[in-house]
């Protein structure tokens, strides 16, 4: 294993220190591993808290700032943070209008955020939780822990953050977060595995021409192993899975996301194919993101997230944002 780290046990702490050093507008609670907007708590603004295992950078710490999250809790690599961290974050951003917890649907994240919400409630802080579960690779049924939360998390954080910035109520911010989630679907593909710093070798092995379809963001194997094909064919597979679950129409917001080790050049090749597919199926790519936004350490691969827009969602997407990972209008 070759990584730019000091020691596997220090990687999360060291990376957070680097993030805070690079962005003086953020505050770091190093003990609790919580990244906080420098101006939090903002009186009467709903506070947005998210968090999860590390290794998905820029998610979540890179999305703290004006118009997006107020705080993010970083767990160990691929491990949900603990309730103490979430409580610290919730306290730090509570400006009196309540706090929204944005939780990706994994058993660990759900359970820890649930315990944290109980602790916050004990302290008289109103908390509403929204669960993101957009991964169509997982059947949402009695036979699974439900769909995973993946790419739509970025959109939920951006759009709910914009509404909170406008001064909306906790109920309204939670509602728009749920709406974004309901209107979003994602699907991921791995070309290589990833290596956890504490493990030192890849989580699974893929042969020279093998790929995994339907992966999440934790180096879990996907639902199916197959053979690499052209970007055009891969886009077809991914988009068929998404469009089968949510027929495409109208204006959509699309993210072609890299898993951490994929060059931007290849992501642009994929975006061209995804856009062609969508426009060929009667919808229009009104907004897009192409780059590394929700990653799996050094994994090579990509995911696509599609959200059906409304005029309000488009307006909130376009609203100014100023975070390390997303910035426009300011």
């Amino acid at each position: 294993m070759k990584k730019l780290i000091n020691a596997p046990d220090d990687v999360v702490t060291d990376a957070l220190a680097g993030l805070a050093a690079a962005h003086p507008s953020l505050r770091l609670d190093a003990e609790n591993k919580v990244v906080i907007r420098g101006d939090a708590p903002r009186p009467n603004k709903v506070g947005l808290v998210s968090g999860g295992g590390s290794g998905h950078e820029p998610l979540h710490g890179g999305f703290v700032g004006y118009g997006m999250l107020d705080a993010a809790c970083a767990g160990e690599v691929f491990t949900s943070p603990v309730p103490d961290q979430m409580l610290a974050a919730t306290q730090a951003v509570n400006g009196g209008a309540g706090v929204l917890h944005i939780v990706k649907n994994y058993t660990g994240d759900i359970l820890n955020f649930q315990l944290a919400a109980e602790l916050a409630d004990d302290e008289g802080i109103e908390v509403v939780s929204v669960v993101v579960n957009d991964d169509v690779a997982v059947q949402d049924s009695l036979y699974t822990a439900g769909r995973r939360g993946v790419g739509a998390t970025v959109f939920v954080e951006k759009i709910a953050g914009a509404l909170a910035e406008e001064g909306a109520s906790l109920a309204d911010v939670a509602a728009v977060a749920r709406e974004v989630n309901e209107r979003s679907r994602s699907f991921g593909v791995a070309l290589t595995s990833c290596t956890l710093p504490a493990v030192g070798k890849p989580s699974f092995e893929l042969a020279e021409s093998e790929i995994e379809l339907g992966i999440g963001i934790h180096g879990e194997p996907g639902r199916e192993r197959t053979t690499i094909t052209t970007a055009h064919n891969l886009a077809g597979t991914v988009m068929d899975a998404i469009a089968d679950d949510m027929p495409l129409s109208g204006d959509v917001l699309v993210m072609v996301n890299g898993m951490g080790g994929t060059p931007l050049m290849e992501l642009y090749v994929m975006f061209a194919e995804v856009q062609r597919y969508i426009e060929g199926h009667g919808a229009r790519v009104a907004r897009n993101l192409v780059g590394n936004y929700i990653t799996s350490l050094d994994m090579q691969g990509f995911s696509v997230t599609v959200t059906q827009l409304t005029d309000t969602l488009t307006r909130l997407w376009d609203a100014p944002v100023d975070t390390p990972g997303l910035r426009w209008g300011r």
Partner: protein, 210 residues
């Protein structure tokens, strides 16, 4: 069984988890996200330090501190689940200073109840419940029948090991492994494996006590 026995149990867990850390992580790499060994090692190392720093005065207090520390240090799915289990067990013991087999059985039932309440897993879902449920029920039955500590704990560990083994052929319906669907079959569940280690450490701690 006094406070020392329960402290010995927990420190034994810390030792065996440290030894089995890579094995547990390998099991998790196959059907999860390759962190179960690191998660529990971090957690029980913190627990051992907490017990050392401020030694609790009763068996119940040992387990409650263990549970609270696991919740604060582990994260993931196993942190809240094991943490809640130890807290419930500690609460069940109350402040008694000498725990008999009946009280221990009740504490284990309470632990299992906490895990199922929080995680909603049933037997057959390929989780730690597939170890804890049969082991607890074998232990309660043996205790109710008036078997000796050695025999009852033997039944506990035998059922635990059989339960862990049985997860190999199951398809996961809870936790990360469920995402794999049929591909989860053929691998032992990491949480089941760690639960079997935890219960074996309990037997060893009790039987080693004078």
């Amino acid at each position: 069984m006094d406070t020392d026995v329960f402290r010995a149990w927990i420190t034994d867990i810390a030792t065996v988890i440290r030894e089995q850390r890579d094995h547990l992580t390998q099991l998790d790499a196959a059907i999860g996200d390759a962190d179960h060994g690191a998660n529990l090692d971090r957690g029980f190392t913190a627990v051992a330090a907490a017990l050392e720093a401020d030694p609790p005065a009763s068996p119940g207090a040992v387990l409650t501190l263990t549970g609270r520390t696991l919740i604060s240090k582990v994260g993931g799915a196993s942190g809240p689940l094991y943490g809640t289990a130890f807290r419930r067990a500690g609460k069940s013991l109350g402040d008694t200073s000498d725990v008999d087999l009946t009280a221990l059985a009740a504490a284990l039932e309470a632990a299992l109840g906490g895990i199922q309440q929080l995680g909603a897993a049933k037997e057959g879902d390929k989780t730690m419940v597939d170890v804890l449920a049969p082991a607890t029920s074998a232990f309660s039955k043996a205790v109710a029948e008036g078997q000796s500590a050695a025999d009852a704990l033997g039944a506990l560990v035998a059922a635990a090991q059989a339960g862990a083994e049985a997860t190999v052929s199951m398809q996961a319906l809870k936790g990360r492994a469920s995402y794999l669907g049929p591909r989860s079959v053929g691998h032992e569940d990491p949480g089941a494996a760690s639960s079997a280690l935890i219960l074996a450490a309990l037997r060893d701690a009790v039987l080693a006590s004078p």
